[in-house]
Each structure stands twice: as structure tokens, then as C-alpha cells.
Symmetry: C2
Subunit: 306 residues, 2 copies
């Protein structure tokens, strides 16, 4: 957002943030390839649709947050993969359902036809439904102690339900064409996208059996990063092109949906995101270099251009 703010690159091992992200995204893609039911296993069409939806790329922000928080909490690698898969499956299922004609009726996602266009509506609905089940299945199969599995289930289920993602979607539905106060807009996004981003951070830490005080600090970090993520999305929706975003730019404004930019204005929204970046970093001030990836991700989320 602020062209003069440099991406910080402290020494975490030998890897730059970009190299770490490339490595961890590849790690996630491998884990998903391996964990998802093969496309040739019946029912093939359903499995094809699920793999199509999950394996078509994306920034993988939630898995990266899981991995970064897992690094802080020294979580075991295989268990962390399961947490990353679970949270991303819930995110992808929500995208599939969001794109359906009865919701946003979107035909393009990451530059490719949406699932109901590439397959059909019924298959898209079932693929989303199955992915949510798959998320909890992967947690239940994770090589982690039962207490940690149960803790991960708690984080994900609370974030996905009516107090989190689904509730935020319902508020979003009701908001089209309505005036919204800034408080209402924040509350909607805290639920719609913030809850799952927070779950990603917390799940990475829970997988490493982090202490309660660590989780409190991470909550403050995740709240700031989650809100910043949405504000930056709104700014990019105004400032960027469809090609750069891989989805239809300017859509929110066209649909009459309230955005941070429409409520507070473009420049104040940018300044706010920058302030939130500062808050996210402050929340991590008690941690040593093991929190550097989380720090770098806060930078990345606010400074990204797509």
C-alpha cells in the first residue's frame, strides 16, 4: 500500500520470504495432491470437481499462515500439513458455493471457469459439501495427539459456522444495496473472512500445542491481519485490473456492496491497512525470530498488489 515501506527480509534460515512462500506453497500443493481422493476413484465426477477446485492454485494465504504460526510454535510438519489442508478446504468450499448462481453467480475464478460452469450446479454444491467434510476428515486422520485433533476441530468448526464464515456470508447477502456503518462492515468481515484467517493462525499454533498466552498474542495479530486483508482486497478491487486479480475487478461496487473504500474513502483505507500492519507486528513483539515468517506475512498481506 505504501510504496516506500520495504518488504522486510530478516534472516530466517537462509530463505527470503519469496523463496519460503514458494517452498511452502509447493509443500501444500503436494500434500493436497496426495490427500485428496484420486480423480479416477468413483464417484469420478465429484472427485474431479473437488480436485479442480482445490488444485487450481491461488495465493494459499491460509496455509501460509498455518505454516508460519506452526514455525513459531514448533509444530510437527505432518500435523501442520493436515491443519493447512483443513483450513484451505473450508476456504475453497466457500468459494465454490459463493460462485453458484443463487449466490454471486460468478463464472470466473482465478482466471478459470468456476466449478458449476466447468461441471454443473449440483456437482458444485456436492463438491463444496464434501470438501467441508474432508476438512474434518483430514484433521481426524492427522498424526497428532487426540487432544490436539480435538482442539483443531474446535477452531475450524467455530470459524466456519454461523458465528464465523457462514454467518458473515449471511450478513453479506442481506447487505446488498443497503447502507452499512463502518462497525457493521467490520463485523461482517470479521466473520466472513477474518474468522477463518484467525483460525489458520491459531491452528498452526494449536498444532504445536502453543500456550494460552501465545494464542492471545496471535489473536491480536490475526485480528489485525484479517481486517487488513479485507481492506487491501477492497483497495485492489478499485485500483487493480481483472487480469491482475484473476477475478472480476470493480465487482463489489457494481453490485452495490459496501466496501471499506466506499465507506471511508480510498486513501484513508490505505492508511488504515498500514496502521493495521503496525498493530499486527506489535502483537508479535514478545516473540523472537521464530515469529519472523508471521511478521513477513503481515507485510505481504498489506503490501501485495493482487
Amino acid at each position: 500500500m505504501n510504496a516506500t515501506a520495504p518488504l522486510r527480509e530478516p534472516a530466517v534460515g537462509a530463505l527470503s520470504l519469496a523463496a519460503w512462500m514458494t517452498r511452502e506453497v509447493a509443500r501444500f500443493e503436494r500434500a493436497a495432491q496426495q490427500q485428496l481422493p484420486p480423480a479416477e476413484l468413483p464417484p469420478q465426477r465429484l472427485h474431479e470437481a473437488i480436485r479442480y477446485a482445490v488444485l487450481q492454485g491461488g495465493k494459499r494465504v491460509r496455509p501460509l499462515l498455518v505454516y508460519a504460526a506452526g514455525e513459531l510454535a514448533d509444530a510437527p510438519a505432518a500435523g501442520l500439513d493436515c491443519a493447512a489442508l483443513a483450513v484451505e478446504y473450508v476456504h475453497v468450499y466457500s468459494l465454490i458455493h459463493d460462485d453458484l448462481p443463487c449466490m454471486d453467480n460468478d463464472v470466473l475464478r482465478r482466471g478459470k471457469p468456476t466449478v458449476h460452469v466447468a461441471f454443473d450446479e449440483a456437482t458444485a454444491m456436492l463438491a463444496g459439501d464434501a470438501l467441508q467434510a474432508e476438512a474434518f476428515k483430514v484433521l481426524s486422520d492427522a498424526p497428532l495427539p487426540a487432544a490436539i485433533q480435538a482442539g483443531l476441530m474446535r477452531e475450524l468448526a467455530h470459524a466456519a459456522g454461523t458465528a464465523g464464515m457462514c454467518g458473515g456470508q449471511a450478513i453479506d447477502l442481506a447487505a446488498v444495496g443497503q447502507a452499512m456503518t463502518l462497525g457493521e462492515l467490520e463485523q461482517m468481515h470479521r466473520m466472513k473472512t477474518g474468522a477463518l484467517l484467525r483460525a489458520a493462525v491459531r491452528m498452526g499454533a494449536v498444532a504445536g500445542a502453543a500456550s494460552a498466552s501465545t494464542l492471545v498474542a496471535l489473536d491480536a495479530y490475526a485480528a489485525a491481519v484479517g481486517l487488513a486483508f479485507q481492506i487491501v482486497d477492497d483497495v485492489l478491487d478499485v485500483e487493480s485490473t481483472s487480469a491482475a486479480l484473476g477475478k472480476t475487478a470493480g465487482k463489489d461496487a457494481a453490485q452495490g456492496k459496501p466496501t471499506y473504500v466506499s465507506v471511508v474513502g480510498l486513501e484513508p483505507a490505505k492508511a488504515w491497512a498500514e496502521r493495521l500492519r503496525g498493530e499486527a507486528l506489535s502483537a508479535l513483539s514478545d516473540f523472537d525470530h521464530r515469529a519472523d515468517r508471521l511478521r513477513q506475512l503481515a507485510d505481504f498481506i498489506v503490501l501485495r498488489k493482487s
Copy 2:
């Protein structure tokens, strides 16, 4: 199915099966009333739709199976309520999504307008999505040891996913207007309805930390009961009226969906259900009177008239 086969009523405490069912269904309804988010909590429309879908009655076969298996395994009452809620929430979410225009396009369920008719399609989809999350939330909040919570999550997630309910739905979708062998039909139902019925039985036992050998016996019981349940459904679809069923009778045949009756014929289907009742009872032969409710439920499922 067989008018001469009596409903067995052995002495389990002082309660007849009918009285036990009434009591346990009331227990379930109370637990659901209490556990579900209140309708006046925002987002209200979503919470209203969820309560409308869950609290409109039904036979509650899955919760009854949970309670009956819990009785065998001496499971704690509050934990058992959570397992019963979770499995019924998954069942109800699948009904909401099944009724949507892109699936069965049904307007009537238990004699009342379906959720997308009473509310709207987007709300119905979100209500189903949220109920699946709620199912895992209630397990994660259950007053049970973490190992049991994790075990319950495993049962439910596997039963709900592509190897279970969602997979069966996908096969069902692809089957409309197609010829199906008896083996294919069985496989579809084993996934579409059998997996969740089996999960209900197993979850009741898992909530009581049942032994592996008990679970093996209950698997045989649940496989027989699950298949019988579907065969009886198909028989009732032919023999009963819409009024008695609370849903559109003769629908499967009208939609060109293969059924047990269409594949093997009416009388052989009835005889088969009766044989399966015998198999279910045989599977329980090593257990004492604590398995009586499960025995009675096998009778009920096969002998019911709606």
C-alpha cells in the same frame, strides 16, 4: 413389512419402545432447542432457517440409534446428546441441500415448505453449510475426553464425505434415467444413507468408549439396518400415500430413479427387508439386555408404515 411379525417389547426398565422413543425424541428436541443459536441472534434469517429445518420434527432415526447404541456402551448422557445432535445436523443439512432446485427441486418436506421455499435459495445453501459446521462444533464442545471427541469427528467426517453421504448423492445424481445393477444400487445406498446410519450407531458406542469387538458387531448390525431402512423406504414409496409419508410418494419412480422395488420387485424387496432384520438381530446375539433398544429399533425400522 410382515403383518404377522410382532414388535418385540422386552423389559428394558419399565418403558415400551414407543414410550422410550417418545422420551428420547423429546430429549433430542430439547437438546437441539438449547444447542442451536437462538433465532433472535444475528444473523437472524440464517439462524431462523437453521431452526426451521432442524426443529420441524421427523422420526429422528439417527439420534435414536445414537441413544440406543449409547445405552449398550453405557455412554454418558450429555456426551451422547452431542453425538445425536451432530449426526442429525449432518442429516438435516443434506436434506436442505437435496431439496434445492439444482438437486431434487422439492417444495415439501415433512408436510411443510422446504427451506429454500420458506426462505430463499442462498439462505438454504448457507443454512446447510452452517449446519455441517455446527455438527463438528457440537462434537468439539462435547463434555467428553478429547480422544472420544476425536473419534466421533472421525466417524462423522468419514460418513459425510465422498466415501459416504456426498459420494452416494453424486452417484444418485448420475443414476437418474440409467439402468443400475443391484450391486450398484446397494453401493449407492450404502454410501448415501447407510454411511450416516452406521455412523450414528458407531458414534453412540464410541461415546461410551466401546471395545473394538463391540464396534465390529455394531457394524454388522448397522449395515443390515441401513440397507433395510432404504429398502423399506422404497417399498413405502410405492405402497404409501404422500399424506402418510409427509413427502411426495412415488417420486423416485416418476423421476426414473432405480429403486429396490424397481430392480427386484415389491414382494422380494419386502422379504429381503425381513431377512435383513434377522441379520441385524443376529449381529447383536452376543450382547445382553443392554442391546434391546437396538433390537427394537431394527424391528421398528423394518416394520414401520411411514
